[in-house]
Amino acid sequence: MELFFQQLVNGTSLGALYALIAVGYTVVYGIVQLINFAHGEIFMVGAFGAFATWMVLGQPTNWGPAASLMILLPLMLLGGIAVSVTVALLTERFAYRPLRNAPRLAPLITAIGVSVFLQEFVRLFYGRIPGFPDAKSAVPFPSIAGISGEIIQIGGVTIQMPAVFTIGALAISTVFLWFFVNRSKTGRAMVATSQDPDTARLMGIDVDKVIVAAFAVGAGLAALAGVAHGLSYGNIDFRMGFLAGLKAFTAAVLGGIGNINGAVVGGLVLGIVEAMATTFIPGQFGSSAWKDVWAFALLILVLVFRPQGLLGAKVVDRA
């Protein structure tokens, strides 16, 4: 039973990471019906942005827990968010917007191009910035006093502090998102646009602005996830966006694509399923080498039996 709770905690923290990224997929898909394939790369760029902020601050390593938590971490988060949002808006403006009325294959292929381009751009040019480490292999992420390496022990269950950070970030983001979507003018415009873009435009909503807002919100959360990833695993890598993006998309589909709550639920479910699969599937197939296979198998199963996702109400029939 202890093992079960331990894996539940591990799975929740992994799932929170997926959920943070999945929101970006689902928000953008809900409005423009585009699978923003490059969203995983936005997550990666966010992590590198936070790392760059740390470098600019003079690589502080000896700050105490209070200063680290109150000043260093928020600054790094802001830096990561700034970089992610900038990159996301640039791709939206120059890669996706001109193709808004093109056949659906065109933006999808563009998204693959953007994804490869961003990965290679970071790999080739990150190390060219004076004083920055080469990004061709994994870069060690700075440790934040008060989070990195700290644990909380509850009974026999060990909770890593980075996991607490990830879950906390998801919780705060969810609350923020709820207020943003339901209370703010832009958020309501987003809902209106996702329900019926043409009518929304007739009602005086600037659809371009709404799309920009969707990309920005998704990118901001992806940057949070990037920092959480760096803190949890201790290093960041230009390739990390690919698998994380794929998993997050799975989570978005699992919850019902286009549904923000669904993305959060889907992410958590996916993370927990992955963690449980590595523990409770007996024999060789339970080894951690198979966990990605189980995650994707879950995606295919969902598509067979409940294509609208766990929380999605509408049947997806858009080509």
Binding site: P98, A106, G113, V116, L118, L124, A289, W290, L303, V316
Partner: protein, 576 residues
């Protein structure tokens, strides 16, 4: 250009402009007989006076064409007769001289880079540059010519056949010459020259004429294309390096053609296609007589190929059946996820994390060469005094596979199934309403494409000698997709060209291998913005991507009516 220089100015200054351009073209021609560089290392040694190097003598081609186009009009409209209007004299000369300038600049840049410094360019290089510059300045001042009508000129059948055969012979000769350029500078220079010549020919209407000739003599075209392709190994003098590239290109092209059915004809975006290739390769490897094979069943290759294809298409059915119902974007991600599942599974079936089938990340190596009815593919043969190596054998085998794929593709394209596929691609709901069984047809395309990939993979396993999971990663799927997109979705010729470009350029231009993927990503983005239909456009596709362009619609309609009447003998035309 039109906005820059008014038509009156052009008419007034047409004589001096023509003279200046002629002088320029003559200067470039003269420069070929002068040394271009001080060092022997640059290009293929362009240091001799009066004896141009092979590459250098190709520089006669473009300015020669330009000169011809500039001088012949001096005869006057009357003497030229109907050719006065059939050929776009001035516009073609303009294209030609601009292309000359571009190639000269590339050649000089190659010299400067290889010998470190512009100082190493000798007099000939500067003469070529000056001449090309003169021509490039002079020709834009000439009045615009009307659209060429060369492609409308009625020509006898024998002339068309001669044209096709000549084109094929030129392709064979130029391709082997290009492949024998070992250093990047020469290869780029030669490639730029070829692109320039093709652009001029297109402007002249020669390409249009050829395409009509080809459409009218389809059998001759296909036959001569395959004769040329089969003859290619004989031009290589037993060089294995080039044949290895060529056979890799063909394997890649075969897989791309399979993907083309799925993406180009039906419009299903498959991002895990490489997994089907991998499934075929692993099946063939496991069934081969390799020492690392884990199964004690080694059928002859003909059986293995079929099993590989069937295994791949079964996987296609497995993935397609659930996802093709929900349709659309999901397929892209599910196939992507499937590609990952495949790679991870092949990695894990190592006896440690699962039953031992593939030896995990080590893969299966030491796969013996094919032995086909007593013909050993690993053995070199001497035919007509030319040594034909191992890779040439695989090249010929893949050529047969590709021929088969093309025959299937062409027949499907004009069959009930093919029309159903295109209908699905253009509007699935409408197709379904018209009685097309969309699910069955999509599944057929998916499984069929997977089968072709499986067959290609089976040959690839023997060609590569070893099969490992990391040969079948997502990036390879993306490359296959890029070949289809770059060349032109839905066309055979385009995909062959796309596959050749994507496989050949990285082999020949090693210096940019570091930036290969970056450029590749950029290329995908830029292609989608500016030419989503690819290098060679499928007419229906082109309309799809430029829906609001009325002029293009009319052009394509007219072209279909005038050029493709042979496809619709029952009617005297074709109504869009």
């Amino acid at each position: 250009m039109k906005a820059l220089i008014s038509d009156e100015t052009k008419v007034r200054f047409r004589l001096p402009a023509r003279v200046v351009s002629v002088v320029g073209a003559l200067a470039v021609i003269a420069s070929v007989f002068l040394p271009w560089a001080y060092g022997h290392e640059a290009l293929d040694d362009v240091t001799f006076t009066g004896a141009p190097s092979p590459l250098q003598s190709f520089f006669l081609l473009l300015p020669g064409l330009v000169l011809l186009l500039l001088v012949v009009p001096f005869l006057g409209k009357q003497r030229l007769g109907r050719f006065a209007k059939a050929i776009a004299w001035n516009t073609s000369a303009r294209t030609g001289s601009l292309a000359t300038l571009a190639t000269v600049v590339i050649a000089l840049a190659a010299i400067a880079i290889e010998l470190k410094g512009l100082i190493n360019i000798e007099i000939g290089g500067w003469v070529a540059f000056g001449g090309a510059l003169l021509a490039a300045v002079g020709t834009p001042l000439l009045p615009d010519s009307p659209e060429p009508t060369l492609d409308r000129v009625k020509t006898p059948k024998w002339a068309q056949i001669v044209g096709i055969v000549a084109m094929m012979a030129a392709v064979l000769f130029l391709a082997s010459f290009a492949l024998n350029q070992t250093d990047a500078g020469s290869f780029l220079t030669f490639g730029a020259l070829l692109v320039g010549v093709v652009l001029v020919l297109r402007q002249l209407g020669v390409l249009g004429w050829l395409s009509i000739a080809a459409a009218n003599n389809n059998r001759v075209l296909v036959l001569s294309a395959f004769v040329v392709a089969y003859a290619f190994p004989f031009t290589q003098n037993g060089s294995d390096a080039n044949m290895s590239i060529a056979s890799q290109v063909l394997i890649f092209a075969a897989a791309a053609l399979g993907l083309n059915i799925v993406v180009g004809l039906v419009g299903l975006l498959d991002l895990g296609y490489i997994a089907f290739l991998g499934a075929g390769a692993f099946t063939a490897a496991i069934l081969s007589e390799s020492a690392f094979s884990t199964v004690d069943f080694h059928p002859p290759f003909l059986v293995t190929v079929l099993i590989s294809g069937v295994v791949a298409s079964l996987l296609g059915l497995l993935i397609g059946a659930p996802t093709l119902r929900v349709s659309g974007d999901y397929l892209a991600i599910v196939t992507l996820a499937f590609g990952e599942i495949f790679r991870i599974t092949m990695n894990n079936l190592d006896g440690n994390d699962g039953p031992n089938l593939t030896n995990g990340s080590n893969g299966i190596s030491g796969i013996p060469d094919l032995n086909f009815l007593g013909f050993d593919f690993g053995q070199a043969h001497t035919i007509f005094g030319v040594e034909i190596g191992r890779f040439a054998n695989y090249y010929w085998l893949m050529l047969m596979v590709i021929a088969l794929i093309i025959v299937v593709f062409m027949n499907l394209n004009y069959s009930r199934i093919g029309r159903g596929w295109v209908a699905i691609r253009e509007d699935e709901l409408a197709a379904e309403a018209m009685g097309v069984n969309t699910f069955a047809l999509k599944l057929l395309a998916f499984a069929g494409g997977a089968f072709l990939a499986g067959v290609a993979g089976a040959v690839k396993a023997h060609h590569d000698v070893s099969v490992t999971p990391d040969q079948y990663v997502f990036l390879e799927s993306a490359f296959l997709l890029a070949a289809v997109v770059l060349g032109g979705m839905g066309t055979v010729m385009g995909v062959l060209i796309g596959a050749t470009i994507l496989k050949l350029l990285p082999e020949k231009l090693r210096f940019f291998s570091e930036y290969r993927l970056l450029l590749f990503g950029l290329l995908m983005i830029v292609m989608m913005q500016f030419r989503p239909e690819g290098i060679i456009a499928d007419e229906r596709r082109q309309l799809e991507f430029h829906g609001e362009d009325e002029q293009l619609a009319e052009e394509i309609e007219e072209e279909l009516i005038t050029h493709h009447t042979h496809l619709f003998p029952e009617r005297k035309g074709f109504v869009l």
